[in-house]
Amino acid sequence: MSPKQPKQALPRRKTKTGAKPKARKAAQRGTAGRAPARESLRAQLERNDRLLRETGYLFGLEEMQRKQEDPGTYEAVWQILLNICNTAHAVGCRVSSSPIAAEGGDALWSLHLPTGEAVCTSRGIVSHPGLLSLLLRSYIEAGYEDDPGIRAGDIYENNDPHFGGIHSADFQTTVPIFWNGRLIAWAGSVTHVMDAGFVLPGSIGFMNPDCFSDGVPVVAERVGENDHFYPWYEKRMRSRTRVPDWTMGDARGRLAGCLTIRDRVLALVEKYGLDFFADVTREYIEDSRRYAISRVRTQAVPGRIRKSNFKDLAMAGKRVLLPVQNVDCLFNLPLEITIDVDAKVGISLQGASGWVPFGQNITPDALVSGMLNAYSHIVGFDMFNWGAAAAWSLVEPPAGSWANPYPVNYFASSGVAWAPAVVWMSSLYEAFGRLYWARGFVEEVAAGAATTMTAEFSGTNQYGLYTAGLTLEQACNGGPARGIADGETSAWCIYTPNADFGNAEVTELYYPVLYLGRNVEPDSGGYGKFRGGLGHTAVWLVMNTPGIEYQCGCAGIRSKLCGNHGMFGAYPTWPDRPAYASGTNLKELVAARQPLLHERGDPEHPNIARNLQADVIEPNLIAPFVTPEPLHEWDVIVHPVSGSQALGDPLEREPEFVQQDLDDGWGQERVAADVYGVVAKFDEGERRWSVDVAATAQKRAAIREERKQRGVPFREWWQAERERILAKENMADAVLAMWRSSMELSPGYAAELRAFWKLPDDFTF
């Protein structure tokens, strides 16, 4: 049994609701919501909350004076701040030597108000500004201003989800910015380190059974002063992370970027004056709130949107750490959005299933930040900062669910908290896509995201040194189908618009592997009128090592399931299925100049099994997993990275698009014929495909007729399906367990499910 969370340690959360636009004039008119010189941070925080509550405007900014008086300077200073943050990103990533930051750019720097709200952020992982905002707020709420005090040159840091982190591989560093002895802003940064000291090597802690296996803790603490880390901070990283040079490189990179922001912001304040700086930074945030609201109002429709989604984590029978983990889990990731007359968006996860004995639980604060990330892509991306978070409210997710574990299990692990959240967020893209479609903004529709399957290596590298870390393949998958076009191939990533998977040649310098292939994966973007952008498959040859482990990680994948996407009649993308072989004859094949292995190949006869002989061949694995034995030289890994979701009935796809994919090797002949209904043949002479237009039209008409013949009236199916539900027919244990926990945690959701199937009031799965 997991203990209940101690009462005094409840994470404090404030949901911003109840804004009343018609309330009285802003009390702080003339000072544009800026704080009196000697006001404490706590008092500022309370005043900000009160002004939002009473006026409906952040900081009570009913009017944005600086913007109105001088819109040119207002816009110019925004661009300067954006440049400052992006400069910090460039500096920080260069100072850090770790592949994630230096090669993938997967990090973030940001500028915040004294009370925490993000003003402006760099490129990079845009899921973090919300967390940094709430983290800084939590320092103030905990009284840090008085004890231990906040001074110029201090470095505060956190990676603990109990106190404002998302998962411990993401280190959050914050540096106060003082001007004439007064705290005027914060610089913040997050990097994802290569090894967080988890119970297993790496930074994707899906296997962590509880928070005690979540690695080296930095618990909302001061880790340095006078712009230097304490010596004991480095000692801790050296003894408690596996690749401390990279971990410390990241720490120095975060700090260097923060100091870059600090120095340049001080120069900016010198030039424009403190009052101007204090005013515009608040106005930028209110501007962003207004932008998010107005975008919903001008592009969406009020009402209710619902989208179910599910994610598997099948671990039974695999290498796990504790007996309790010998289990298959299914996550219920429901989304309900309501949009009211004021274009205020409410978001609910009623029906979310329970916490899991793995590192895939997330806190509501981290979900809020994830939402901000999604908003940055699909709703409000003009001035990206905290403002959009005041344009919606998140209903507290069910206590004890994967989305709010601590009230029931304070020891729950968040080794890779992002995993369920990122799959859930994919629904948000489709949901807003439906609203934009209804309103005619077809160019803004996005059909749903790709997944995030990671590859980590640990062991002795080609230099004879111990290594542990992540490749960036998953940061570059297919983009969602639009309302008017296919998604872009290998071009996008839900959690970072950077979407940089790094250079293959550089990755080969970091890890003892060689790329045999990095090819676009045919048909990996679902099947629809418009398909999602395609993913790619990396094929790695293990080389120059006495042995490494391959962790095929889940940072948000489905391996048993397809996502519940298939918007407007498309078919969703297929499950994530990696492969590997050990003890291969690849060395002999190379010597004999025989075909090697460069791509996955035919899904029914994968190349790995067709081309190779090996002691172990696993052509179709359910991810995630850690290889049971280390891999050795000439062993090989096939690691697919997913494409994104499709839109529309596949029979409506332009035959010439199908032909183009066939010509490019991006589509399979069987899919073109059976799913798209396209009659095409390959011209050996011209080396290209040609479509028989008339035969295609005929075939498609026949398929439509066949659908009508085999389809049954819904009510008939409902009758029969109800019986199968009562009999729990063909339902995996994980499915039954998922329904039990969802229904237990959300009685309203359970009642609706029972009512729909007309099940007895006491029915459980």
Binding site: V301, G440, Y571, R577, I703, N730
Partner: protein, 183 residues
């Protein structure tokens, strides 16, 4: 505020605009009259006369028919009150065995049928595949979009609809008379 003429919007909708132009449209402030033009374009493309109140999908629309607001396919097939999930009036085909799944997903691409079923919803009129769901057994069908039409037209568009109705999910009410017949 941007404005586009109908012919350019038609080319946008049909995917015929050059990508550079689409990007300009994406980056510009949105055109305030898009909805009116969108509905006008779609209305001209359907073979029936009932006024479109809101497009739902590539094939389905909420239309006004007399005093009723119903979901209607572009082919003319009618699904009933828009506050009832239209899936109740569709044809459904479910893939829940390896053989059924193999017509779409094969080998390493195939999901596990004990974890998930693929539900295909088809228009009884024209055979269009309207939506696909991939959910475990027991999941009620998603009622994806229940718009608050009266609020939308009154408060957001400034032209109230006649005969306002309460915006509530009527799906369970519609199923009230569905009897459970013993097998």
């Amino acid at each position: 505020m941007s404005q586009y003429d109908i012919s350019e919007l038609e080319r946008l909708i049909d995917g015929e605009l050059p990508w550079a132009r689409v990007q300009e449209i994406m980056k510009d402030a949105k055109d305030a009259d898009r909805f009116e033009k969108w509905v006008a374009i779609l209305q001209a493309r359907v073979p029936w006369k009932e006024p479109i109140l809101l497009p739902l999908t590539t094939a389905l629309f909420i239309v006004r028919k007399g005093r009723q607001r119903i979901v209607k396919c572009r082919c003319g097939h009618e699904f009933g009150d828009y506050r009832v999930n239209w899936k109740l009036a569709a044809l459904i085909h479910v893939r829940e065995t390896e053989g059924q799944l193999a017509e779409v997903y094969r080998g390493t691409e195939q999901p596990d049928p004990t974890w998930i079923q693929i539900r295909e919803y088809t228009c009884p009129g024209c055979g269009t595949q309207l939506e696909v769901e991939a959910v475990p057994r027991g999941c009620p069908p998603d009622f994806e979009l229940l718009p608050d039409l009266d609020t939308f037209y009154r408060a957001w568009l400034g032209r109230p609809l006649p005969d306002a109705v309460a915006c509530e999910d009527k799906t369970l009410e519609a199923m009230r008379r569905w009897r459970i017949e013993p097998r």
